[in-house]
């Protein structure tokens, strides 16, 4: 961040010269009226980015764009991944869309790397982030980044992928070794903390993106690479000789990854929050993309009826349509389906559910009641 401050100072100095010698291209903006909010039923009418999203007709969702299983563009040119499906779920709720084929017409994806993501969200360049961002106090505190984190969609932990030949079983065994790490991430900070705690000297080799980390590991430029365990497990399979590397048994940090948006925007935030919870609740109710219509027409369970909007006005209270969860499930399915399709059993990554299972099955996925 300090880097930006310096640049801002330099840029401010130069902007006088810049604007004097060249025509200012876009100084014709009219004074906007952010307070113009629609008469929105029972929903709060405080100014919100939600109004901007609706009048724009598109949700701008910041994704990473190059994380296998979480966000990438497939060969057909469509965004794909777990993080991307969260964007789709939110858009389905906001725009009342139930067709998975047209949901991408309502979303603009922006690829943001780890240094660009927070300035982009804070400046309004994107409406929300769904890009492997760890929920921490400094990122959500008003004196820090001041962002509001929706429920975690993927519980991860920092691990260490090491060369088998090192015979390393604990961090102390890595004394004097080179460790590759992606810069600008919590991973980088955790590594420093953990190694200081263990009193181990090591060489840090930093990279701007994850591709560089694993390329360097494969080329032998570092002895170990550290990142989230999910990423390490996936990337290990793509190294030239996967069996030469082992995932160490240490878990160095908690990495709860989930969507987030700016703070102080309850109307937008609560939609993101409850859509995310709804995905987990749908799995608990065993409502899937395939059976949602049938459940809706045949269920006698009042909790399910409320959840799908056949009874009550939960959706209206949130500021979306009553059947918003029907739309969401039709577009992306429940949480379990999203997980299996992108990173779990039905994908090439085949990650265990582990902590990401429902609370009823020994995991941490737990939705507050919909009532």
């Amino acid at each position: 961040m300090r880097k930006w401050g310096l640049m801002l100072a330099a840029a401010t100095l130069s902007v006088a010269a810049l604007s004097a010698c060249s025509p200012a291209p876009t100084d014709t903006g009219t004074a906007a009226s952010p307070g113009a909010s629609p008469a929105g039923g029972a929903a709060a009418t405080s100014p919100s980015r939600l109004d901007t999203i609706k009048s724009r007709g598109k949700l701008i969702c910041g994704v990473e764009g190059t994380i296998p299983g979480f966000s990438f563009v497939d060969s057909e040119g469509k965004y794909s991944g777990l993080d991307v499906d969260i964007c789709r779920a939110v858009a389905a709720a906001i725009f009342d869309v139930s067709d998975p084929a047209t949901i991408d017409d309502k979303i603009e994806y922006r690829n943001l790397d780890s240094t660009a993501r927070f300035p982009a969200l804070a400046s309004g360049e994107v409406d929300m982030l769904s890009r492997n961002t760890t929920w921490t106090i400094s990122r959500s505190a008003p004196g820090g980044n001041n962002f509001a984190f929706a429920p975690t969609t993927f519980y991860d932990g920092q691990g260490m992928l090491v060369k088998k030949s090192l015979n390393a079983s604990k961090l102390e065994d890595l004394a004097g070794k080179s460790i590759c790490v992606e810069t600008g991430t919590t991973t980088e900070l955790n590594l420093a903390d953990q190694m200081r705690k263990a009193g181990v000297q090591y060489n840090e080799v930093k990279f701007q993106d994850s591709d560089g980390v694993y390329a360097a590991l494969a080329e032998g430029r570092c002895d170990a690479a550290t990142s989230d365990r999910s990423q390490l497990a996936a990337r290990r399979t793509t190294l030239p000789n996967p069996d030469d590397y082992v995932l160490m048994d240490v878990v160095m940090s908690k990495e709860p990854l989930g969507p987030l948006t700016v703070n102080n925007d309850a109307r937008l935030f609560q939609i993101i929050e409850w859509v995310t919870y709804g995905l987990m609740q749908a799995e608990e109710f065993e409502i899937t993309q395939a059976n949602v219509d049938q459940v809706l027409s045949s269920t006698q369970d009042p909790a399910v009826k409320r959840f799908l909007g056949a009874e009550g006005d939960l959706g209206t209270q949130l500021g979306v349509t009553n059947d918003f969860m029907v739309n969401v499930i039709k577009v992306v399915g429940n949480y379990g389906e999203i997980y299996d399709r992108n990173v779990g059993a039905n994908s090439t990554l085949k990650l265990d559910r582990g902590l990401n299972n429902l609370w009823t099955k020994g995991g941490l996925m737990y939705s507050p009641p919909f009532r």
């Binding site: 810049l18 982009a120 694993y214 494969a218 793509t238």
Partner: protein, 421 residues
Amino acid sequence: MTTTFPSTSPPPVAQTGAIAWVRKNLFSSWFNTLLTVLIVAILSGMALDFSQWALTEAKWDVIPKNMGLFFTGRYPAAQRWRMWTLFGMMVVISGMTWGILAHAATRLFSRRIVIGFAIGAIATMLLPIHPRNHVILLSFLVLLAAGAWCGRWLTQTAPKVSQWWPAGWVLAYVLSLWLLAGGFGLKPVSSNDWGGFVLTVFMAVSSIVLCFPAGVLLALGRRSDLPIVRWLCTAFIEVVRGVPLIAWLFFGKFIFPDFLPVGSPTPNNLIRAIFVLAMFSAAYLAENVRGGLQAIPRGQTEASQALGLNPFLTTALIVLPQALKISIPAIVGQFISLFQDTTLLYLVDVQELLSMANTVLANPLFLGRRGEVYLFIGIIYWVSCYAMSVGSRRLERALSAEYRPVAIAGAEVQQREVGGT
């Protein structure tokens, strides 16, 4: 009387042919022989390693499966025909320009060019793409030749008309914008969905179009007699050149919106990126043009003043045309480097070719295929830059034909350089 003849030495061994060339250039002394052997050993080792990787380890299926992504990004598949149309239009107009510029050549399709076409056709057939696309690409080669023939014919029958070829490019640019963005009868495609090589070219061309006039004006401003104009232009050039391009791109992306009035719409990401690229190149271009301006002898200005031309006409008709002709190589060098600089745009969320390569690498189906993908886009960049460089040399020759002194001076310099190596 003596009958002996003075002994004659045998005729010298022929110093021509391949063997003599090799001996003269590669094995003339023991040191050169050592160097030759060493370098050949290293190069062949590398070539062997590479071909082993390319033929056995590399999994090339990542290229054909993502061809659409590399070239058009997330452009809707149903609208890709527009990209083909765009490409075809560019081919025709390039061919015509070539024909017009080469109208003075005795034969348009010399042996070298025919061989070039043959290589192009073979390379096209070898590309791992859909057979339908083979047909399209081959027909584009035919279109290129036809365009060249038309251009030449046009110049010979109606030279007045053919002088307007730059206007053809302006028209082509406008038509390209229409094909890309849609509207006026075509389905609109958001600029957020533009991507891949098409976007790379679009960003480069738009920046070049914008930076050229800006650069020329800055160069003139820096040599102006009006102190304020001179100071401002000098300050702009020095400030822009003093900060790295990537810092300017981040400035355009994150800080520039803060300067706009609160609530006013932020201009499109692509427009901001083009503006930054153009202004950055304009500062460098201004210095290139200034070099050209300084090379024009004072007598030219004085002569035009003696003829009664005012300062504006002196600059526009006498000084600038000569200065620009001199600066063409430097200006084209600047354009090529601008084209390569577009790769930096991937850091500010412009989905150009490099960015598409990175997203292909993130597809779980193609994890870890860095070598294949980066090699492929490297070839694309090389072909594009080499084409620009060849094109510029032809343009230079065509433009300098009527202005001997520069051509001769240029030739002398070239000769000296060749002799020096």
